[in-house]
Amino acid sequence: MTLLPETTQKKLGLVIDLDVCVGCHACVVNCKEWNTGGYGAPLSDVEPYGDNPSGAWLNRIHTFEITPADAPAQIVHFPKSCLHCEDAPCVTVCPTGASYKRSEDGIVLVEEDKCIGCGLCAWACPYGAREMDPVENVMKKCTLCVDRIYNDNLLEIDRTPACVKTCPANARHFGDFADPNSAVSIMTLERGGYDLMPEMDTKPVNKYLPPRPKANPATAASESKQLAPAFAPKAGEGLLGWIDRALEKLG
């Protein structure tokens, strides 16, 4: 059993904008390539060229089809990584203190030297956001690129998680939710950002922005926006008469 800090100075996390995520996997793969050579053990791949290739990833995209009653079915791409919960059950369940939440910035990390690979934290996480490395047998999870965000060896502009920097659709934003004036806090407020599965009482820090409503193909143009005929096709004038008048206006 490991304790959570009562409060954290910062609440670092991600805003993920489901309105623009096209499910391209840029974040997924850039995360893998940064982190396999970064914090902790590599993200291993078993049977990389074999019959059942599999490996550890810190971020995955889930694709859902939703079927509204009165509109065509649609696809939602849903990237998911650790949400760095304030009440993180993956921390409290850890028997060795390997899984912990940092009091300075709220990042949930695994101290791999202490990890015994028991997997309890992965069971406890309601989001399925942790993955056991198949080779090193330690628990891997999103670190919010803790080895990037404070790293003096990187330009200041690059001190952001790899997934955020690489996202072509600008669907991922990084910041401090403890600061009500941060871009991520404002964005969450303005766009109706929400918690994933709030009923689990984990108080996730990461937020999701909902897709904006889609137009229904069956909808007709409102009366004021319908195209009015410029001419009466069968009543004498026709298009050619209209051209005469229109060209006169051009001079």
Binding site: E33, G37, A73, G97, L109, N153, T219, P233, L239
Partner: protein, 954 residues
């Protein structure tokens, strides 16, 4: 237990060095920063690849493919040494040879052909990004048979655009993401320009503007579009022309734009019995005539002060008293599209789009174009010398790609979209579609196609180009094709990119003739880059009655152990994209953006650890071995050491070379200038690219903008101003019809006449895709197509340990209605049956798809054993290709002929015309069918676990 307080290292070492080059994980060509760090053996190893923030294409972002470049570079499927076939072709038995021997063999084969009958070399380069070089090499060799993969990719897009307005979607233009009010994207699934499109969509969303996705499948970009148009494949042209119908009816078109920039006022001869019926009426200098509103007379369109009319009738002949009449092309256009045939009510069923949706979208387009006009307060002067104090934009933008292109009606559909853009006045106006330098480049600024076949002599010009009239076709006196792929012949007269997909089939049929050497680069023809893959494999291995291979010699260059490798006699191993020099050149397909002329290089950011050479360097070496002109000095020595030497020192004409940046001896010149020995170094210092901004007064209306013309000449993009009148009415098409009517020469074979009359309409038109008209649609009621996943670029992605975990196999996504009818559930297996064959595939139900269309991911299926994958890899056991059920020929029509499954105008392969039915497969082995013998690999398989970067972690 206490709250743990553990200090993670704040600033760990990242990398020892960053080298900046150009990505090649797809065709997008983003800038990348390759981080190198010392590996276990003390040598530099790739630590991380990220987007280059300064780069004009991707501005720092990078997609899944680009980020997986590490796994591509270190793929176990990399070839490591030249190989010579020792077994039977297709068996995959090779012996390793030295480069000297490999070049000697290739040199002997090629030299014999060049000295006797150069056309017996068919040289086709697949996803080549160096066509200005490979084409030039083939030109010096003297074979008429060269093309890259444009013919099965997107020639309809390129030719439709260039013939119509001197530009094209993707490489030669882009939506005005920052100013557009309304954006409609047709048939694009992560194809090309992938990062810029994602960035652009995001910008549109951030500005709160509407995005409409027109696509049978609602994934990717269409998933985030504000509105989805669930179109039936192959009917986009009809949908677009219905919008045109609505706009014309409402008078929502930009007449001023049409008069200024298009041939809408040009007079078309109306004299049904004459040999020039339907051509433009011209004065004695060849200038098209227009009807002057002031005088009522026909005068040259470019006469100063003319006020062109868009309707009316004029008598031709001296003093306007002749019997012959002519009318402005706009009048023909208006009459055509105002016809009830194009009314939303009459296209709804065919297109699968509700009437309300078509009408509402037309109204929204009109509102965006005319109620939300964008004004840029930038004075400019047009090519007639008229000064304008501002730039007025019609902020409606469109983009389209393979969903439009890969149909037999794709050329006309593409032209229909451009017609819509032009009627709105949105081509290169603020908020619309913007040209990218060196475009605009109308037909007048494009090369013509060149043929020829003289021993030991080069061709007189480039192979590929844009013919202006039927007389410029590459046919013999008897009408037979000059080229092996039958490009620029009656089969496909305006096939500006050639027909790579017909080469093997024609060579095998010895129609129009047999060849001696097939030389290919990066083209997986025995698998995913051919229609009828099974047939192609047989054609490559078939022998004649003398026991000789019908295609006698095959030279192939690839970096990896692809399916095609097994069918080569000689393999010239290429490098990976991080080990090579390349020029992304202004002479070919540069990386410009609308506001800047940009080109780029690749350079060896890491040295090869195998005995491989960049293919272009191998070509240079072969060129000097063969003493080809342009590659040989007067004393017979080699002119260029390697491709880098060529990039630096080659001049296509004085002062113009492969790269535009840092020219001149001291690197002070741009565009034009003598070669600079330090040019590549200057590119490297600048991050691998050059970027030169277009002057402000030249940013829009480039097609008619004097400042643009002057700048383009200064930069060496063209040698003189080129007039660019948009060709809504495309006269060359009418000329072909006159040939078919027997009124002009050359006369097409009888068998082609009907098709030419039907399809070569000089005004954009729609006709049903051919496959659907050649089969019984009750027997094959559904459409089947593929789209490329965002995280995988054609066949080579499957060797990538990371990407194959994302797309390791591909189900057939089938609409729920069809599943219910066929009794299919998720996870079942089904037979997909076309007129050509059947495949057994895993099934996934889907709702967000046009209800007559099933689809799958492109090129995931692999031949067993290829790409160094295990024989039981899911790519082979569950993955599949649609290619097996697509024929390169249409079903027999009973006329004794077999017609190519291509667009009749451009020859574009009509992949997406495929029609199928579906049957539940018996519940036996879960294995996709057909299966083939395991391909033997000339490289080893890696079975161990991968822990990439372990040496740097702790």
């Amino acid at each position: 237990m206490a709250v743990p307080a553990i200090e993670a290292e704040k600033s760990p070492h990242v990398s020892d060095e960053i080298r900046k080059t150009t990505c090649y994980m797809c065709a997008c060509r983003c800038g990348i920063n390759v981080h190198l760090r010392k590996g276990e053996n003390g040598q530099p190893k790739i630590r991380y690849i990220e987007g280059n923030r300064d780069h004009p294409i991707n501005k720092g972002v990078l997609c899944a493919k680009g980020s997986a470049g590490i796994m591509q570079h270190y793929s176990p499927a990399r070839l490591s040494k030249p190989l010579k076939r020792v077994g039977e072709r297709g068996e995959g038995k090779f012996e390793e040879i030295e480069w000297d021997e490999a070049l000697a063999i290739a040199g002997k084969w090629l030299g014999d052909v060049r000295a006797s009958d150069p056309k017996k070399l068919a040289f086709f380069t697949g996803r080549d990004q160096s066509q200005s070089f490979t084409g030039w090499w083939a030109q010096q060799f003297g074979t008429p048979n060269f093309a890259a993969h444009g013919g099965f990719c997107s020639v309809n897009m390129a030719a439709g655009g260039i013939y119509t307005f001197g530009g094209a979607f993707w490489e030669f233009g882009a939506p005005d993401w920052e100013k557009s009010e309304f954006f409609m994207i047709f048939g694009v699934a992560e194809d090309h320009d992938s990062n810029p499109i994602k960035m652009g969509l995001s910008r549109m969303k951030a500005r709160g503007k509407k995005i409409v996705g027109v696509n049978p499948v609602r994934t990717g970009y269409n998933a985030i579009a504000d509105e989805w148009v669930a179109i039936t494949p192959g009917t986009d042209g009809l949908f677009v022309l219905a919008i045109v119908h609505e706009l014309l009816k409402a008078g929502k078109i930009d007449l001023d734009y049409l008069i200024r920039y298009t041939n809408a006022p040009w007079l078309v001869i109306d004299d049904p019995d004459a040999d020039d019926h339907g051509l433009f009426a011209r004065d004695k200098d060849g200038n098209a005539l227009v009807l002057d509103r002031k005088t009522g007379k026909a005068v040259a369109y470019n006469k100063k002060g003319v006020k062109s009319h868009l309707k009316g009738e004029v008598k031709l002949g001296r003093l306007g008293r002749g019997k012959r009449r002519a009318v402005p092309s706009f009048e023909l256009l208006a009459r055509k599209y105002l016809s009830e045939e194009y009314a939303p009510e009459n296209v709804s069923e065919t297109t699968g789009i509700p009437v309300n949706q078509i009408k509402r979208l037309a109204a929204e387009i009109a509102e965006a174009a005319f109620e939300k006009e964008v004004v840029v307060h930038q004075p400019w002067t047009d090519m007639k010398g008229e000064k304008h104090d501002k730039m007025i934009g019609r902020p409606v933008a469109f983009h389209a790609m393979r969903g439009i292109s890969a149909h037999s009606n794709g050329f006309q559909t593409c032209r229909s979209i451009h017609l819509l853009q032009i009627l709105l006045g949105s081509i290169d106006s603020p908020g619309g579609f913007r040209f990218k330098p060196p475009y605009p480049r109308p037909i007048a600024g494009q090369p013509k196609p060149h043929g020829g076949n003289k021993p030991n002599e080069p061709l007189s010009g480039p192979h590929l180009g844009f013919l202006r009239s039927p007389q410029e076709m590459l046919i013999n006196e008897d009408g037979s094709p000059q080229r092996i792929d039958k490009a620029f012949s009656w089969e496909a007269p305006m096939s500006s990119h050639g027909l790579m997909h017909m080469v093997i089939s024609n060579a095998h049929a010895r129609d129009p003739y047999g060849i001696d050497v097939l030389f290919m680069y990066m083209a997986n023809m025995s698998w995913n880059s051919s229609m009828n893959s099974v047939g192609v494999m047989k054609m490559l291995t078939d022998k004649d009655e003398d026991g000789e291979y019908i295609i006698p010699k095959i030279i192939y260059s690839d970096a990896y152990s692809s399916e095609m490798v097994a069918f080569a006699d000689l393999i010239l191993p290429d490098t990976t994209y991080l080990e090579r020099h390349d020029a992304i050149s202004m002479l070919d397909r540069p990386i410009s953006e609308p506001e800047a002329m940009c080109d780029a290089i690749r350079w060896p950011v890491i040295e090869p650890d195998r005995d491989v050479r960049g293919f272009q360097t191998t070509l240079i070496n072969l060129g000097s071995l063969l003493k080809l002109p342009g590659m040989t000095n007067e004393d017979g020595t080699a002119k260029y050491k390697d491709y880098a030497d060529y990039i630096t020192n080659h001049q296509r004409k004085p002062g113009i070379g492969p790269l535009a940046g840092w020219r001149g001896k001291d690197g002070s010149k741009t565009g034009r200038g003598e070669p600079n020995p330090d040019q590549i170094q200057r590119y490297i210092e600048n991050g691998g690219f050059s970027e030169t901004h277009v002057p402000k007064e030249a940013l829009y209306f480039k097609h008619a903008n004097m400042a643009w013309q002057n700048w383009a000449v200064e930069m060496g993009l063209q040698d003189a101003p080129v007039e660019n009148v948009f060709q809504l009415y495309l006269e060359p098409l009418r000329q072909f019809q006159l040939c078919a009517e027997g009124k002009a020469k050359p006369e097409p074979p009888e068998s082609h006449k009907q098709r030419i009359l039907q399809c070569f309409d000089p005004l954009p038109s729609w006709y049903e895709p051919f496959e659907g008209t050649a089969i019984d649609t009750k027997e094959f009621p559904y459409h089947a197509l593929t789209q490329r996943p965002a995280a995988m670029y054609h066949s080579w992605g499957s060797q990538n340990a990371w990407l194959r975990q994302i797309h390791g196999s591909n189900p057939m996504y089938i609409p729920s209605e069809i599943c219910d009818e066929a009794g299919l559930e998720d996870g079942d297996w089904a037979w997909i049956i076309s007129h050509h064959g059947r495949i057994k595939v895993p099934v996934a139900r889907m709702g967000a798809v046009n209800n007559k269309t099933m689809w799958t991911w492109n090129a995931i299926g692999k031949r067993k054993g290829a790409w160094s994958l295990s024989p039981g890899a899911p790519e082979s056991t569950k993955g599949f290709l649609l290619n097996h059920i697509i024929n390169e020929l249409l079903p027999p029509k009973g006329d004794g002929l077999r017609w190519s499954n291509s667009d009749p105008i451009t020859g574009q392969a009509a992949w997406f015309d495929l029609r199928v039915r579906v049957e539940k497969a018996e519940a036996d082995e879960e294995l996709s069918l057909p299966q083939y013998d395991e391909q033997k690999n000339p490289v080893d398989r890696k079975t161990e676990t991968l822990s990439y970067g372990k040496e740097w972690t702790k």
